[in-house]
Amino acid sequence: MLDITNIISAVLKGDEPEVKLLVLEAISTGEKAGDIMNKGLIAGMDEVGKKMEAEDMFIPEVLMSARAMNSGAQILKPHLTEEDSGGIGVLVIGTVQGDQHDIGKNLVKMLMEGAGFEVVDLGTDVDPHKFVSAVRDNNATILAMSALLTTTMPMMADVISALNSEGLRDRVKVLVGGAPVTEEFSDEIGADGYGPDAGSAVRIAKTLISGEV
């Protein structure tokens, strides 16, 4: 039987070599790759996410965990079946047009990868049409947008109307965040979720996709 707790605690410690070793061991003893992924690596990052939100972990430590998780996932990749190889979904992320701030966006990106999302990063100052095409081309489950300025925040609404006019709005969940963004603003522009910080953004993203099933 797969000793999940070892993988979970190695991910929590951010111990990359240990995570790799444990994943290899689990594979060689014939564990199901899907189980190693979901009950080990992703479960470990769930714990990390909870600790981060509770401010029990420092961001650099969280990123160590995310890196360890990703290394484990790379080893697992060839062993995953068609069914479980897609991870938990594709997430397109970017900072809206007119805005160059990317500290928060990058942090969310790294944490989303750690949580098991396949992330397409469009960078900063992203044109609404670029968001729309990325959603279409990658068959994205989630579109995550960031803005740090009150002057660029309204661009989020423009992206949502662009999704609407292209008939893509129903296929993707929209997640927004950034210092000036509030729950009220998120509701007002018709986004599906708002993350007040990077940790909760991951939690909300996961809720959004599980709600879909």
């Binding site: 401010e55 420092f58 961001i59 650099p60 430590e61 990123l63 160590m64 995310a66 890196r67 990317d102 500290i103 990058n106 942090l107 790294m110 210092a179 007040p196 910080d197 909760s200």
Partner: protein
């Protein structure tokens, strides 16, 4: 342990000074003139006799004038640095120089009960809880009783205080007793705990706080305690309480001169009784009574710092005072006065800094206020450290490697060093939503919850049963 040391890296770490050496010399000479010209009144015959025998001039039975040479001689035998130990015999404090250690005050009549928010008379259980909290806090280095228990026989309350301190913390203790016999009993208890008279002298974990009537008028109990402890070679503070405008001139220099003339009288007596006896001076001076309210202000900006400079000039270990407030509540004034006074003592290098957590000018205490002060001291511990500037900390190769568009969040250099930065434990840095989701609580509320958590979880190392019994026998002895 706060591990605060002013001027730790000479001229490369925070340090402050208010008096020049020449000014300190003027005050010192003023003290010498007061002792020679005006003299002091000592209400203890032994003390008078000892001074007379050594060359002091005595009139009217107890008016003693002390020649400067006697003071100068005392400086040549008194220790300039004092080691204090914990209850287990580990050396935990080097009192002297610019090192700062922090502890509570003693004997507050009242407490703001953190469970009800009400101000009430203090009881023995409050001391038990106070000691438990202090035992768990990183930056409370020594303890005093905090409260005056109203629910024990008043003539023996100092024994009860000592017992509760011994039972509930291993940190060094500064005890206060009313009568002389209480002092002798406290020493007996400490000797039992240390395992004998010599062990306590070699590894003192307790010091007596002796209060003296005024600078030039010394009460019998204070003098008896001084002579007794000096003979035993046990540490004590000798603190005359000259009040500017009432028992000394209202001016800072005048009050200081009168007060330290009294301190120097104690110093001379201690060294006459036993050369090399440890002696701790007060590190505040220029006390006043508020000329509107007659309250003695503890957080007064003008009574601090100059005396720390003065005692550094004299080169002796000092007992100082900070972390206290005039406020009646654990409120904004309490936090501000606590922070400013602690900051001052850290910068100037006060040694044994007591009264942390005092409210209402020494009449009321609060456990959450002590927890808040502990956080202030954590902040100060970080602030007082010098900055390392070298290849590793400048990280020029890294800066070039990461480049203008890169980021450092998951870089090994960040991982290696991020814990060197300061992170609060009680102060809140969350964003608004994070703060709100944790209950949206004020500092006072968080400090109060922290007290509850400590009291539920922290178990101080108890005294061995036979030792605790022997200590208790002294408390209840008739």
């Amino acid at each position: 342990m706060a591990s605060i040391c002013s001027n730790e890296q000479a001229l490369n770490s925070p340090f402050a000074k208010k008096l020049a050496d020449e000014q300190c010399q003027k005050i010192y000479w003023a003290c010498l003139e007061i002792l020679e010209r005006t003299g002091v009144c000592l209400y203890d015959q032994d003390a008078v006799d000892i001074l007379k025998k050594a060359g002091a001039y005595v009139t009217n039975g107890n008016r003693v004038r002390i020649p400067s040479g006697m003071v100068e001689k005392a400086f040549s035998t008194v220790p300039k640095n004092l080691s204090l130990y914990d209850r287990m015999g580990n050396r935990v404090m080097q009192v002297g120089g610019y090192r700062s250690y922090f502890g509570t005050g003693s004997d507050c009549l009242n407490i703001i009960d953190h469970r009800t928010g009400e101000r009430r008379q203090a009881v023995l259980q409050d001391i038990t809880e106070g000691m438990t909290v202090c035992d768990s806090l990183d930056h409370i280095d020594f303890v005093m009783s905090m409260f005056l228990p109203s629910d024990v026989p008043q003539e023996r309350l100092d024994r009860y205080e000592m017992e509760v301190m011994l039972n509930n913390t291993t940190k060094p203790i500064i005890y206060v007793t009313t009568e002389f016999s209480g002092c002798a009993d406290a020493v007996k208890m400490a000797e039992i705990v240390a395992g004998g008279e010599d062990t306590l002298r070699c590894r003192p974990f307790a010091a007596c706080y002796i209060n003296v009537t005024t600078g030039l008028r010394h009460n019998e109990e204070a003098l008896q305690k001084l002579l007794y402890l000096s003979e035993k070679g046990l540490p004590f503070t000798y603190i005359p309480s000259a009040q500017g405008g009432v028992t000394a001139p209202i001016t800072i220099a005048g009050t200081m001169a009168v007060n330290y003339a009294g301190v120097l009288t104690g110093l001379v007596l201690s060294q006459l009784k036993r050369e090399g006896a440890p002696f701790i001076m007060p590190g505040w001076g220029g006390n006043m009574l508020d000329m509107k309210t007659m309250v003695q202000p503890y957080a007064d900006p003008q009574k601090r710092a100059q005396s720390i400079d003065f005692v550094h000039y004299l080169g002796l270990p000092m007992f100082s005072l900070a972390g206290c407030s005039e406020s009646k509540l654990v409120d904004q004034q309490a936090a501000i006065e606590a922070a400013l006074t602690l900051f001052t003592d850290a910068l100037f290098g006060g040694n044994l800094v007591h009264d942390v957590g005092y409210l209402e000018s020494g009449l009321c205490g609060s456990l959450p206020q002590v927890v808040i002060c502990n956080e202030i001291l954590d902040w100060l511990s970080a602030f007082m450290k010098g900055i390392e500037i070298n290849d590793e900390t400048l990280a020029l190769d890294l800066i070039d490697e990461v480049g203008p568009d890169g980021q450092y969040l998951d870089n090994p250099h960040t991982l290696k060093h991020f814990k060197e930065r300061w992170y609060p434990k009680l102060f809140d840095r969350s964003n608004y939503n994070g703060w709100k989701s944790k209950g949206g609580k004020s500092l006072g509320k968080r400090a109060s919850e922290s007290v509850d958590q400590i009291l539920a979880e922290h178990k101080p190392e108890p005294l061995p049963k036979d030792v605790a019994d022997a200590v208790h026998a002294i408390v209840v002895e008739n």
